[in-house]
Amino acid sequence: MAVPHVHPHDDGPGHGHEHSRDGLLGPRVGRGHPAAAVRAAAPGGETVTLEQRVLAKNEELAAGNRAWLAGQGIVAVNMMSSPGAGKTTLLERTIRDFTGRRPVAVVEGDQETMLDAERIRRAGSTVVQVNTGAGCHLDAEMMRDALTTLAPVPGSLVLVENVGNLVCPAMFDLGERSRVVIISVTEGTDKPLKYPYMFAAADLVIINKVDLLPYVDFEVARCEEHARSVNPGLRVLAVSATTGEGMRDWYDWVAEQY
């Protein structure tokens, strides 16, 4: 039974997806408790102290993935974006340009991009698709299963296309080496302020489609400033996956992760 939520990603029509049971999202409403019926404590009841992190299990699995990847000399990069940021094109170009340099494998969690898995395969990468169902993010267990199926060779680069939204994926560690947020200049300059959790959790921001800058109202420097206001150490690269502009900087950044 999925709960339809209004998602705070503001990205055009046709991308409504349902949120099942995540307790995230939606506008922040007041803090008061609703006048819920408080049940009388059962006589002879007992208080059990748990004091544990909600995501403890996911963190444990993520740590396992991280250790395995490190042991294989594999770098996994968790790539997160809103729909329409140009992730698939960026991935295709990256895979092509890595031919002969380093094997690339792709974990495909984005329902939208699933349709493009064939494009990824044609570009020369192995791909595994993860069905997240009504879920709005990948988790460490899905990542573990995907890695088992993919069986990436030692030293390879694993690019993880997370589900296309900028809220939920920020909360779930997959065991990746680094986290990248991709936005395009067709989105708002204030994107980092609308999705502060995502930008706070990122290691790198890629601003894509800079070839379109003359035609849109987007200020790269101002966007960088916003992103650093929630994450002072954040690296920001401006690229066009279509023309290839700036892609070298992205490849250099990947090389630094090894």
């Binding site: 039974m1 709960v3 939520h5 099942s20 049971r21 995540d22 307790g23 995230l24 999202l25 939606g26 506008p27 922040r28 409403v29 803090r31 408790h33 609703p34 819920a36 408080v38 049940r39 404590a41 059962a42 002879g44 009841g45 007992e46 208080t47 059990v48 102290t49 748990l50 004091e51 544990q52 992190r53 909600v54 995501l55 403890a56 299990k57 996911n58 879920g135 988790d139 267990e141 809220v167 939920c168 920020a170 909360m171 302020l193 502060p196 959790y197 706070a200 650093r228 206001s229 929630v230 002072p232």
Partner: protein
Amino acid sequence: MSITQSIVDAVCERAAGRPVHTVRVRVGELTAVVADSLRFCFDLTTEGTVAAGAVLDIEQPPGAGRCRACSQDFTLTDLVLLCPCGSADVEITSGRELEIVSMRVG
């Protein structure tokens, strides 16, 4: 696994078959989790489990930070890390909690 599912799984595991009446969680104001959505999802996720009908009690520690430049403690209402002194070298000291505190069973 979603946030709510994680809570319900942990609670049901520890309850070991006993009915759960109240679950207390700590969700900082500087997390992306919205209390009302969490409560709503909790009611649905607990259906058919020993925690069905349990009340979800949510503590919400407010955001707070400490400046590494001037050692000042101050309130953070969002993730923009800026001390009143102008420094952005700020450590978040409260508001990022996402924990299961306790539950009432039996």
